[in-house]
């Protein structure tokens, strides 16, 4: 089965509001990385976490390896936040092949 389960698959927000995206892992991951795919199709790095939380502007991410999940919080959403968000985590053992979630498609409305 999928090692990375991402939710929700789609999300609609009004400008100024916020929400959280989540990735659950079926096994213990060493780290997590979050990306946003913009309108031009480029994957933009948002966060890399091996533990704890990180914050960057209106975005905040948390990673709990033991509990096997990571979250990405968006506050005060803006139109330019629209896009598809992905989490990725390296598989365990010596095979470093990051596994991706299926993405959350976020649309921010005026």
């Amino acid at each position: 089965g999928d090692q990375v389960e991402q939710s929700p698959s789609a999300l609609s927000l009004h400008e100024g509001t916020g929400s959280a995206l989540r990735c659950n892992f079926t096994t213990t991951m060493r780290a997590v990385q979050w990306f946003r795919k913009n309108s031009r199709g480029s994957l933009i790095n948002l966060f890399y976490l091996a533990s704890g939380t990180k914050e960057n502007g209106r975005l905040k991410s948390a990673f709990d390896s033991k509990e096997r999940y990571s979250t990405l919080h968006i506050r005060d959403a803006q139109l330019e936040d629209s896009g598809t968000y992905f989490c990725a985590a390296p598989t365990s053992g010596g095979n470093y092949k990051p596994t991706f979630g299926k993405g959350t498609s976020l649309v921010v409305h005026p």
Partner: protein, 115 residues
């Protein structure tokens, strides 16, 4: 954000034709990954390199693709005989270290359409 360069941006091939795409990793990044992303946004790992050496690849890549990362030249991924199911976005990423503790930096991808 990323300085990984992928060419061409779009590629259209007929079934049975070769399809070749290239990737220039970020300067100083010895590790390169190739992923295939389908229309459902699902990522499939294809192959990775450390410097010029293949570290891991899936069966499909080994059987149907030719890939290399020569020194002082772009990395390349070539499908030897394209099939309709190969239509997808091919993403290249580089990383400064091997070991699962570093960030991936992606290029913009090559969108392959096999007619």
């Amino acid at each position: 954000n990323s300085k990984v360069i992928q060419t061409p941006r779009y590629l259209v091939k007929g079934q049975g034709q070769k399809a070749k795409m290239r990737c220039i990793p970020e300067k100083g990044h010895p590790v390169v990954f190739w992923y295939q992303q389908n229309k459902n946004n699902e990522f499939k790992f294809l192959i990775n390199f450390q410097n010029q050496e293949v570290l891991q690849q899936i069966d499909m890549t080994e059987k149907r693709f030719s890939a290399e990362c020569p020194s002082n030249s772009p990395c390349s991924l070539e499908i030897q005989s394209s099939e309709a199911g190969d239509s997808a976005l091919y993403l290249c990423a580089s990383s400064p270290h091997w070991g699962g503790a570093e960030t991936l930096y992606f290029g913009s991808g090559t969108r392959l359409t096999v007619l």
